[in-house]
């Protein structure tokens, strides 16, 4: 009789929304508050969602708008320096010459918001450059250059001078990996 309610679909996007929020805020409590705000906004504005379009893209757009407007309000409140990834996702290093995940997380969190966002959207969550550009309200070229600058900066931070530099198994790395709590700097 009636068309399916798009609000029923919301729940399926929650884990992705939370992952996106965590990578933007680098703080678990802030991320969850942001997801909550986004869910309420989406629920009450569901008539603005165009059926048949990508709901995840729509939700991510609301979420990032929420983030950037709160960031403006907070006047660049200092982010959790130890970072959510370091705290939550301590992984053992793989001794196969690949980038160490903990080093990668630390480096990733140092990128500017716009570069992290571009990399998460196109590098990790599988949006096209075109979709990401639309979500961020910028040109496709802007997203491409943000992603490329982000990758270049990561390369710099991870000291990619030669192949051996990728094997980052110094004491600091081991400390990050073995210590499940925040790391004192």
């Amino acid at each position: 009789m009636s068309a399916p309610d798009p609000r029923d679909e919301l729940v399926t996007h929650l884990p992705a929304m939370r992952a996106f929020a965590l990578s933007l805020t680098r703080n678990g409590a802030t991320a969850d508050d942001m997801v909550q705000d986004t869910v309420v906004k989406a629920w009450t504005n569901i008539d603005k969602f165009q059926a048949g379009t990508n709901m995840r893209a729509w939700l991510f757009t609301i979420l990032r708008n929420t983030y950037y407007s709160s960031r403006r309000k907070a006047k660049r409140e200092v982010a959790d320096i130890d970072g959510i990834f370091t705290e939550r996702l301590s992984v053992k290093p793989e001794h196969d010459g690949k980038l160490q995940m903990s080093d990668f997380k630390v480096a990733f969190e140092q990128l500017p918001d716009e570069q992290r966002e571009a990399l998460v959207l196109v590098g990790a969550s599988g949006f096209s450059y075109e979709e990401a550009a639309e979500m961020c309200g910028v040109a496709i070229g802007t997203i491409k250059s943000r992603a490329n600058r982000g990758r270049a900066r990561l390369a710099e931070l991870l000291d990619n001078n030669d192949d051996t530099a990728m094997e980052l198994t110094d004491a600091a790395t081991m400390a990050v990996v073995t210590d499940s709590g925040p790391v004192a700097r």
Partner: protein, 54 residues
Amino acid sequence: MSHSDDDNRQRFEAMIDDNLKRLYSDLVQEELPDRFKDLLSQLKDQDTSASSKK
């Protein structure tokens, strides 16, 4: 830029994207806090009581 520099760069970028995907999928797989299930059922209840008043 030499050919092998290009190769290195490409390999490195592929590695970065692999790491990004791992980082992100770890976050996606985290268990969802109960507050979100509660929130959704709250929103549903509000709608139900609002429409039954009409």
